[in-house]
Every structure is written in structure tokens, then in C-alpha cells.
Amino acid sequence: MSEMDDTFKDNVLEVENLNVEFSTYGGVVQAVRGVNFSVGRGETLAIVGESGCGKSVTVQSIMGLLPTPPGKITAGEARLRGNNILNLPAKEANKFRGVEIGMIFQDPMTSLNPTMTIGDQISETLMVHRHLSYSDASAKAVALLEKTRIPEAKKRAAQYPFEFSGGMLQRAMIAQSLACNPSVLIADEPTTALDVTIQAQILELMSELQKTEDMSIILITHDLAVVAKMADRVAVMYAGQIVEMGTVDEIFYESAHPYTMGLKEAMPSNRKDRAKKLTPIEGSPPDLFSPPAGCGYFARCPHAMALCETKQSEEFILTSSSSHFSKCWLQHPEAPKTDGLFQVGDDDAG
């Protein structure tokens, strides 16, 4: 029992064997295929991957935001402090979503209600979940806007979303998600629509609030530079599965999955000695109507072996700390050595 209590203390949220399908006219899309991860208290976990890899679907399932139908969670659990929160009826789900787990979205312009003032939208959260009176909730909304450093918060609270710039809207959405002091903040591509200068402001605001509010953050992004800036741990997703997971340093400096490596090499470096050519990942992700029997990355992988086509790799744990795993046959003790990739037994090389 005491052991379980400890688990709750460390991991605020645990996701186990999550499987999500979408029924479409063309057939069933297996969008998420057996995803496992956990988020520790005060930790930032980044989930990285290309469009269509299932990263947004994963967090939408956790939040109970999956459109059902066509979406359907076919297996798995997500536990918030030990209690499963998947497939709950809306009434039950509303006890935690927006309360214990806050969420911000990529496009603040379409995520906020254009017909309500910013202040009223934040107050609504407080009135529904915390049963505050309108006047108390409005006062708290202004305080929340101040917390996210919106200048002239009182005046701004009475304005509508169209009167806000993109960066200010993202601040307002953060203010709203913080209204009930959530222990987990899910940020789905929070800065993708913003300029670098505003991105830097928003990311710094998120890091600061994470400390003062003692929150865990799940950051969904496709931008490795944002990951490097924000994440403690990283999960790399491809074709509905987590193919590599580890601390941010392990993922960047000891990349063990060819896909992680491919993503890194496709980005321009900021070093002075620039390589002449970027190395794109050729081809495109597999069709998830009928996911491949073997590794999803097989068709694009420069190191693919015959085995990869037919059999999925297990998750090979790489370091003495069990934090780093890669779902790739190259990590099998009998696999050939590969230049550039971190493999088991490379501990000294790193």
C-alpha cells in the first residue's frame, strides 16, 4: 500500500496501453496504438512527432475531448492520481477536466468563444467548478489575467477575443486553464501559430507559472527547438506509437531510434559550420487504416532490416537508469552496430 502511495506522489498522471480508433468511410484508422507514459509532479513531458502521429489524439482521449463517434478508445487506462479517467460519462469527466487538468490549444482564436468577453469566459470556469458568484469570479478572472501579465487586465477582461492579438489570446487561454489550479496542464502546440518573439514570451510565462503553481506540463509540439527549451523528458511518437522516450539530454545527445535521428537531421543547425544539405526523411508515414505488421518506420528507415518489416520491436531499455528506451530492433544485443545511433553498450561513447 505504501508503495502505491509513493507512486501517486511521483506520477500525477499515468497512461497505460492507450488504443484509439476512428471509424471512417474508408475503414478504421488506428490512430493510437498502445501508448504508455507517465508524468511526474512538476515535470514537463514533451510529446513530439509529425502531423498525424497521434499526439493530439492521445491528449484529447485523456481529456475526454475525443469526438465519439467517430473516435473510440478501444483499450487502455489513464490514471489521474490512481483513478482511471478514460471513458467517463460527461458529468464525471467534468469533475477533473478544467479542474485538475487544464488544457490550452494551438489556435486561441478558434478555441475561445467569440461572443463572450474574455473575462466572462474565465469566470464561467470558476462559476461552474468552484461555484463562485459572478462578481467573485469576475474579480478572480482579472487577477488571473494579471498573473499571465496581460497589461490593463481589468479593461482587457471586458473585451472580446477579436480585440486581442494572438499572443494575448494565448495568455488569456492560459489564464483560463489556470483558473482552478490544475495539477496538470496539457499544451497542444501552444506556440505553433505565434512569432518567435511571442513564442519566447509564452514559453517563459509557462515555465514561470509551472514553478509558482507547481504544475506538471504535457507539451505537444513538432518543434524540437521548443522541446529543447522546455522539456524534462521527451516521448517521440510515430504512427500512433511512442518509439523513443528518455530525458531531454538522452533524446538529443544519445538518440537511439532512427526516426529521432531523422528529425534532428532534418533541422538546420545554428552552429557556424553548417552542413551543406539538410537530410530530409524521405517518404511519408504509413497508412494507419492497415498499420504495418512490423515497425511503422520501416519504409523510411535507412537502417531497416528484414526483421523490421514483419515483427514489431520490443522496448529496449538503454541506460542503467531505466528512463531511456527505444522501440527499435537495432537495440537488440545481436543487431549490427550503426554509426551515429546510440546503442546498448555505448555508455562510454556518449
Binding site: Q199, Q201, D223, V248, F252, L278, P280
Partner: protein, 316 residues
């Protein structure tokens, strides 16, 4: 200089007595077979500059030259036909820039069709060649845009611009809607085409690392003006203008150790509205080094080296 502007201006009327100064006096030149990168925040006027340069917007003031011949301020239908042979554009959004009711053959071949110097079968042949060049299959010709992914659509957009064999192409954020792995594919394709066809490109983007990687020279825009211009590596590693410095400091890099070591000095505030702007430096209200003089006096452009120029009052 293949393409050159002198004090190019483009204002939009946005209401009674309200003028939006989208591009406000830009002088830039682009050499033959060069890639000039243009960076800046949204709302700084990058796209408007690109479009005005090739005649998609009539210009309000200033001059633009192609091969040292002045480009008309307002294009007639005949001008469009004449200039589109040499000046082309690749658009940002591969979803809205392709007509959903036209097949790929019609989209890519439309330019040749309008110029009227090719038969139908010649056009078909050319389209097939270009689809292959940009890494698509000639069998894709009879398909519609919705059948393609974002990266593939961007390739269709590139084929549409290149089939005319233009000399100068404005690439307006060609990669910002694409995934990282696909971005590299498109960048390499543009680079190959530049080398094989001797193209000259204006590469507009807000991703500083990518612009520095792609371009020979880089110009930084802020509220309709160019604040700094020079060789890409020089601007990137030795920025002079306070805005460029802050922009480069805000640009994260995919390296956790470098990110932890970074001094956090994010730029304050947001870009202001370019409507009815008064005198003074446009960046004065956000600039950490601004003095009283900056809000009244327009800064002049100074050359700090042969190719590197800065427009800032600090450099007098």
C-alpha cells in the same frame, strides 16, 4: 542586380483617413542567382513587400526594377502576362493557394496555357516533366488538390511557378505549414532548382534558423521597414540592430544544453499597428536602447561594412 527596389511603399486604405503603412520605403537589391532571406514578425510587411515587388499589389510609392528596367507601378493585363514569364511566386498556404476544382494538370499547366505558345499535348508533357522534377508522379496529373498531403501540395505550387521558367521567384513562407521532415525536402528541392536553373529567390520566412541556412543574404523587417541587411551568417552571428539582436535571442535551437545556457531576455510587448504612423523609429517603443531622439527622428541607413547595413540611430 536582377531585381531592385528604391524606397518601395505600399499603403492600404483601411477606413476614413486611416492608412496602413504595410511597406514604408524599402530599398533592397537581389543579385542574379542569389537567395535573399526576408525575416520579421507577422505584420511586419514581408509578404506585402514580395507581392508588391512582382506586381500583385499596385505600389503606392517608390520604384522597382527588373533587369534595371522599371516595373510599372500598376500592372495592366498585358503587364501581368509579360512579367509573369520572369517573376513568379510560391505561396505560404498549400491548402488555400490551389483551386480545389482544378486538376493538377490544369493548375500546373495554366501558366503555359495562358501564354498560349504550347499545344495541349506539349503542356501535358511539360507538366509531366515538372511533376517528376519536384518529386511527384506524372500519374498524379488527373487528381485534385485534396488528394495530396501538405508537402505534396507545396510541390505542386512549386511546379506551377517553375514551369514558366521564371528568373525570379518570391517564396512566401513556403515551408511554414509543413512538418519538419518535409520542410527539409522542400528546402533541398528549392536549392536544387536554384542551382540547376540559375534562379534568384526572395525567401520570406519567420524561422530564423531556416532563413540563415537557406539564404546568402538576409534582411530583417520591422513594421514596413528593413532594419538590418547583410550576409546571412554575419547578421545571424553578429547582429547589430537591437531588434535583430532580440529576434535572434528569442529563436530557440534544438539543443538542450545551449537552451539551458541561454540568457533569458525575451523581447517586451508586441508589434504595434502600422496605421497612420508618425515619425521616429518604428521599434522605439519596444527597444531596450531607445533614447528620446528615437521617437522623433527617423533613423538613417548606415553601412557598417561593405555589405552589412543597419538602420538605427545608435549608429551615428
Amino acid at each position: 542586380m536582377l531585381v531592385r527596389t528604391e524606397g518601395l511603399k505600399k499603403y492600404f486604405k483601411v477606413g476614413r483617413d486611416q492608412m496602413l503603412h504595410a511597406v514604408d520605403g524599402i530599398s533592397l537589391g537581389i543579385e542574379q542567382n542569389e537567395i535573399l532571406g526576408l525575416v520579421g514578425e507577422s505584420g511586419s510587411g514581408k509578404s506585402t513587400f514580395g507581392k508588391t515587388l512582382i506586381g500583385l499589389h499596385p505600389r503606392t510609392g517608390g520604384k522597382a526594377y527588373y533587369e534595371e528596367q522599371e516595373i510599372p507601378a500598376k500592372f495592366s493585363a498585358a503587364d501581368h502576362l509579360a512579367y509573369s514569364k520572369n517573376l513568379q511566386m510560391i505561396f505560404q498556404d498549400p491548402y488555400s493557394s490551389l483551386n480545389p476544382r482544378m486538376t493538377v494538370l490544369d493548375i500546373v499547366g495554366e501558366g503555359l496555357h495562358i501564354q498560349g505558345q504550347h499545344t495541349k499535348s506539349q503542356i501535358k508533357e511539360e507538366v509531366a516533366t515538372w511533376l517528376a522534377q519536384v518529386g511527384l508522379n506524372a500519374d498524379h496529373m488527373s487528381r485534385y488538390p485534396h488528394e495530396f498531403s501538405g508537402g505534396q501540395r507545396q510541390r505542386i505550387g512549386i511546379a506551377r511557378a517553375m514551369i514558366i521558367k521564371p528568373k525570379f521567384v518570391v517564396c512566401d513562407e513556403p515551408i511554414s505549414a509543413l512538418d519538419v521532415s518535409v520542410q527539409a525536402q522542400v528546402i533541398n528541392l528549392l536549392d536544387d532548382l536554384k542551382n540547376s536553373l540559375g534562379l534568384t529567390l526572395l525567401f520570406i520566412a519567420h524561422d530564423l534558423s531556416m532563413v540563415r541556412y537557406v539564404s546568402d543574404r538576409m534582411a530583417v523587417m520591422y513594421l514596413g521597414t528593413v532594419v538590418e541587411c547583410g550576409p546571412s551568417d554575419e547578421v545571424f552571428f553578429n547582429p547589430q540592430h537591437p531588434y535583430t539582436k532580440l529576434l535572434i535571442e528569442s529563436n530557440p535551437e534544438p539543443d538542450p544544453k545551449a537552451e539551458r545556457a541561454r540568457q533569458h531576455a525575451s523581447i517586451k510587448g508586441e508589434i504595434t499597428s502600422p496605421i497612420n504612423m508618425g515619425p521616429g523609429c518604428r521599434f522605439a517603443d519596444r527597444c531596450p536602447s531607445a533614447t528620446a531622439r528615437c521617437s522623433v527622428e527617423n533613423p538613417k541607413t548606415k553601412h557598417i561594412s561593405d555589405q552589412h547595413s543597419v538602420t538605427c540611430n545608435l549608429f551615428d
